[in-house]
């Protein structure tokens, strides 16, 4: 297919050089992918739904693009094991590079699409199906190019068959194939066939959309091309498509005897490709998105140490990170001692609000599970299913809530689906045992806690104002989380009256002292005329009293001018007094 580029000894060195570079490149990709994907972040971000079930598979075979979507989801399952996922992804990128190697001959330039794809996959939400689809498109292109030199009608028929198959497999992505073929024709100055292919490539999706698999006709072109399995493509995908076109454009040069061939196949070009790829990767890596994903990942696994370790590095986090940090603080018994070490968002950092509830419905459900409000956990698990489908986590949650409610018939359905996922059979089996013996639910370390916290009396929950549920949940003296979240909510809202109402709860044996922020709030409360501390066995620590005196002295020295005192009071930034002065009283959000 290709001719030697230089004289035999030089070619040998060139081959060794290229082999070394290829191994280095793939190794770099493997390490990068392992860093990016570990510890299962890609899988966590996408939560690809895949069930070993006939009906599930058939659903994907019933529309164009379904087969590659299904294949992509199956491929993504490998990413539950980070090293396996990383290896599979690198092999796939290697395959794409190899296919382009077949197309343009031996050089490093054919790695450009793979490197750009690697950069594209820095976005955790990008489904694996895209790379699989691109591999299919390149394979189809190579098959088509085999027809070169045959009669025009054979080529036309061949294109029609290849394009139709490709359209069924990859939907709109096949338009990339059509574009590449048309470009190829134009490069060889065959305007007639190019026009015929253009007409065919536009007509076939339309015919599919109107006759075979009816869809709204623009969707017949857009699905797969500018969106894939719910993922909307950004500029990087278009750059990948551009690189595919570049490969086809370079093909005549690389395979021909032009003066451009040697420099393009040389080490400078190779270095440029790799450097360009590295630049694209560095542009695409979003460290803050990775941090959020890591926190979400560990929070989903209730690994609060890691949530605190990662989230606790910054004082100011976004509302979602702060929401998970607050959960972690509670589970560490530190919420009422440390929450003001972080920037809090009144009304948004204890509970999620729209649009975060829509983006992360299961995380919203998680909190309701913690609080024992199983009905609302169920509600948001069902929302999660509508938004993200039957992911393993959604199925597990639905199984849990129905087990907790004693609804074994429906629980068994969700557990059967969970069993059909590739990696969650063991969990399904464990919960499956609870179906036969309800007592096991109470003994489960997680579900048992939730069961204990479940309310007995009904009340209405407002999805727009989830924090209102605390007013009812806090009435249960055994629901510790509801109590602490209620107190935290009172602190955030500056509702000291509501806070003092439940202070006697601190005299329960599980509290040995008054948490710091509550002490700080009590100090403010005590300044009100006639205020009394409704506690007998607990007292404010001397340190808090001393610090409060110092805080108030600074303010009084400046005649209560909180803006003038801001600098001096900055050393109290992690106290409730500071929050009170500058958020509750200052009216700042």
């Amino acid at each position: 297919m290709t001719e030697p580029i230089s004289s035999p000894p030089l070619a040998r060195y060139g081959n060794i050089f290229r082999l070394g570079l290829t191994i280095g490149l793939l190794g770099f990709m493997l390490i990068g992918e392992f860093y990016l994907a570990g510890p299962g972040l890609r899988c966590h971000a996408q939560e690809p739904v895949f069930l070993f079930d006939n009906h599930f598979v058939m659903e994907f075979l019933s529309y164009p693009g379904g087969p590659v979507t299904l294949l992509g989801r199956l491929f993504s399952q490998l990413m539950y094991v980070p090293w396996l996922g990383a290896l599979a992804m690198v092999l796939l990128l290697g395959l794409i590079g190899g296919l382009f190697g077949l197309l343009v001959g031996p050089s490093m330039i054919h790695w450009l699409p793979s490197i750009l794809l690697f950069a594209l996959y820095c976005d955790y939400a990008c489904p694996s199906g895209i790379a699989l689809g691109i591999a299919l498109v390149i394979a189809a292109l190579i098959i088509y190019l085999r027809l070169e030199g045959r009669k025009w009608w054979i080529r036309l028929l061949g294109f029609c068959v290849i394009y139709t198959c490709c359209y069924y497999l990859t939907a709109g992505l096949s338009l990339v194939l059509a574009s590449l073929v048309i470009l190829h024709q134009l490069l060889y100055r065959r305007a007639g066939p190019a026009l015929a292919y253009l007409a065919m490539s536009l007509a076939i999706p339309y015919l599919f959309a109107s006759m075979v698999f009816p869809v709204h006709w623009p969707d017949a072109y857009i699905d797969g091309l500018s969106r894939f399995d719910g993922y909307k493509h950004g500029w990087m995908t278009w750059l990948v498509y551009g690189s595919l076109a570049a490969m086809v454009g370079l093909r005549p040069i690389m395979l021909g005897k032009t003066s451009w061939r040697a420099p393009l196949a040389g080490p400078v070009t190779a270095a440029a490709v790799i450097l360009g790829g590295a630049l694209a990767v560095s542009l695409c890596i979003d460290r803050s998105a990775r941090r959020v994903l890591l926190i979400d990942y560990y929070a989903a696994r209730r690994d609060w140490d890691r949530v605190l370790a990662i989230g606790g590095r910054a004082r100011a986090n976004d509302a979602y990170v702060q929401y998970q940090l607050n959960r972690a603080l509670y589970h560490h018994g530190q919420l009422l001692d440390r929450m003001f070490e972080f920037v809090q968002y009144p009304g948004r950092s204890l509970f999620l609000k729209d649009p975060l509830t829509r983006l992360r419905p299961l995380a919203h459900s998680d909190l309701f599970m913690d609080l024992g409000l199983v009905n609302e956990a169920e509600h948001w698990a069902y929302e999660a299913v509508e938004i993200k489908g039957y992911t393993a986590r959604n199925l597990a949650r639905l199984g849990e809530v129905h087990l907790l409610k004693g609804q074994t018939a429906i629980a068994s359905k969700y557990l059967a689906m969970l069993r059909a996922t590739p990696w969650h059979r063991r969990l399904a089996d464990r919960y499956g045992r609870y179906l036969a013996d309800a007592n096991l639910v109470a003994e489960d370390p997680y579900l048992g806690q939730v069961l204990k916290a479940m309310p007995q009396e009904d009340f209405l929950v407002a999805p727009e104002y989830p924090e209102f549920c605390l007013l009812e949940l806090v009435k249960d003296p055994n629901n510790t989380m509801a109590f602490e979240y209620y107190m935290a909510q009172c602190l955030l809202e500056g509702d000291l009256k509501g806070l003092v109402r439940y202070l006697p709860r601190l005299e329960q044996p599980k509290y040995t002292r008054i948490p710091r922020h509550l002490e700080e709030a009590i100090m403010i409360w005590m300044q009100l005329p006639g205020a009394k501390l409704p506690l007998d066995a607990r007292r404010i620590s001397d340190q808090t009293i001393r610090r409060f005196n110092d805080f108030t002295k600074v303010l009084m020295d400046l005649h209560g001018d909180r803006h003038a005192a801001a600098r001096q009071l900055a050393r109290y930034w992690d106290t409730y007094w500071f929050y009170w002065q500058y958020v509750v009283s200052g009216g700042r959000s």
């Binding site: 009906h55 709204h216 509600h379 069902y382 018939a409 429906i410 009904d458 209405l460 929950v461």
Partner: protein
């Protein structure tokens, strides 16, 4: 070569014969079990229409293989061996057997071979084959259990004489919006309406009328888009409710309830494309919903509940929202309204009426009854009740009810069958059940809509919604529907100049939101 090939065929035939021989139970040597086998769904003592698809089932007894024998008075019995408990009855033989035995009993005997090689023979399951056929097609919506966000859903038609299920429209073809409230004129598949809401193509009604398709904007100065509907027998007028729906979420027990902040009724004239109403059906002092025409078209039945202001001071207002059944006279020729009458004072009985559906002969009215609100499927206690419109007798249709929620029913065109939704299978998913209604006004034990793969249906999480019988397949192509859904040509609706009132408190929002923005 030919010799070896023949030898192979003989060997295979021998293996096959041997295999078949030990698959068949020895009728005399089997151990008789003094009970019917445990199967899913329940088929014991049900009445089935003569034209129904095979009632495939799942045997829940352990063992392998299973042997099934189905017989009736006439015709050749159906027999077969199955390696698993999924019993799929051959459709041709089933049809032949049913056609030969209308009005007769049908028996299914199940044999299961145990580990020791002995066959267990269970008591036969008895069914009755009614002489009355059921309408051959059923149209319903398939969704997952929904709260606020809407993911995947679709309108489907099912051939009841086979297992063929075809999508009429899926919401991913219509911008991922909510598709609901479908209705037909007189069981005619060529006259259909449905609504779509909160999505890319907008909130409109799609109307198919004898081959013509239209995208209708039913909004006028007095109403936002319409919802619950009933087509007048004359085919020219459709009665609609337009509601401002809200959901409330419970902390304990069932998860949610639905109530209206406002609701009224109106009539849409297909020919003049105008909307009209009258104070009797759109009173601000009451909330009117679920319109249902009497078969002669001279009365509009509907459910009527208290206005929100009357109950809003309660901690859980929806618990006081109990709907009565009322009717108003209507002259289809002049379009004039008659007097308002109370048909069933359900609220006085501590009950709430919903989904009134009148039998085609006009004698009976079947309705859903629950403790409160008008959304019975969210309430476990809801059940179907029968009101005899001649005698006024009101009774629980016990034979078809279960401890789980029942609702969304529809009479067949001959009035002998009722299809309804029930959550009895698992308390969460809604399946369809068919029940025979005999000439003495009694229901027979219902059976679940037969499915080709009973095991799949057993584990499937699905909500069958709003079943409607039709007399034939819907001929409108999916492509034409999609084109209409996305069309920019919209039929606007005018308001009857005689209507001057403006109901208070109506708003255009919907309680359901798109899960994915497209």
């Amino acid at each position: 070569m030919v010799f070896y090939l023949r030898l192979l065929i003989l060997a295979l035939a021998g293996i096959g014969l041997f295999g078949c021989a030990h698959q068949r139970p020895d009728t005399y040597g089997s151990i008789e079990v003094d009970r019917a086998p445990r199967i899913w769904p329940d088929l014991c003592d049900i009445t089935i229409p003569v034209n129904i698809a095979p009632t495939n089932f799942l045997v829940l007894e352990s063992g392998q293989p299973y042997y099934i024998r189905i017989w009736s008075r006439c015709g050749r019995p159906i027999e077969g061996s199955f390696q698993s408990g999924r019993i799929k009855i051959p459709i041709k033989q089933w049809r032949r057997l049913l056609r030969a035995n209308p009005g007769e009993d049908l028996h299914i005997q199940v044999y299961v071979r145990q580990d020791a090689g002995r066959w267990l023979s269970f008591q036969p399951i008895r069914m009755h084959i009614a002489q009355d056929p059921v309408d051959p097609y059923l149209v319903y919506r398939l969704i997952r259990p929904l709260f606020i966000y809407v993911g995947k859903m679709g309108l489907y038609q099912r051939d009841l004489t086979s297992f063929s299920e075809r999508a009429i429209l899926l919401n991913n073809m219509a911008g991922g919006n909510c598709i609901n409230c479908h209705a037909f004129h007189a069981y005619n598949p060529d006259r259909m309406i449905f609504h779509m809401r909160a999505g890319g193509p907008g909130t409109y009604m799609i109307m198919a009328y004898d081959g013509q398709l239209a995208k209708v904007d039913t909004r006028t100065q007095i109403n936002h888009p319409t919802s619950y509907r009933c087509w007048h027998p004359n085919g020219r007028v459709i009665a609609f409710a337009f509601n401002t729906v809200r959901q409330v979420f419970h902390a304990v027990g069932h998860t949610r309830d639905v109530y209206d902040r406002a609701s009224d009724l109106l009539l849409y004239d297909i020919q003049t494309r105008t909307i009209t109403t009258c104070p009797g059906i759109s009173s601000p002092a009451r909330m009117e919903t679920y319109p249902e025409w009497s078969p002669d078209g001279r009365y509009l039945y509907f459910c009527s509940g208290p206005a929100l202001e009357d109950v809003n001071n309660l901690p859980q207002p929806h618990t006081a929202m109990r709907y009565d059944l009322m009717r108003i006279g209507y002259d289809p020729v002049t379009g004039s309204w008659g007097g308002l009458e109370m048909v069933l004072n359900a609220s006085q009985m501590g009950l709430s009426a919903a989904h009134p559906k009148i039998s085609p002969d006009g004698r009976y009215l079947l309705l859903s009854v629950s403790e409160c609100t008008y959304f019975p499927l969210y309430r476990q206690e809801s059940g179907l009740y029968l009101l005899d419109l001649q005698t006024g007798q009101f009774r629980n249709a016990e034979k078809i009810n279960s401890p789980a929620a029942e609702g969304y029913h529809c009479w067949s065109s001959n009035g002998r069958w009722v299809v309804f939704s029930s959550k009895r299978a698992d308390g969460q998913c809604t399946h369809l059940y068919l029940a025979y209604f005999d000439r003495d006004g009694n229901f027979h034990k219902p059976f679940m809509l037969p499915q080709e793969d009973p095991a799949f249906e057993c584990r499937r999480v699905v909500v069958y919604n709003l079943p409607e019988f039709v007399k034939g397949p819907i001929s409108i192509s999916k492509g034409a529907l999609i084109k209409t859904v996305w069309s920019s040509k919209i039929v606007r609706t005018g308001l009857d100049p005689n209507v001057r009132m403006r109901p208070a408190g109506q708003s255009d929002d919907t309680p359901y939101l798109q899960a994915q923005q497209r």
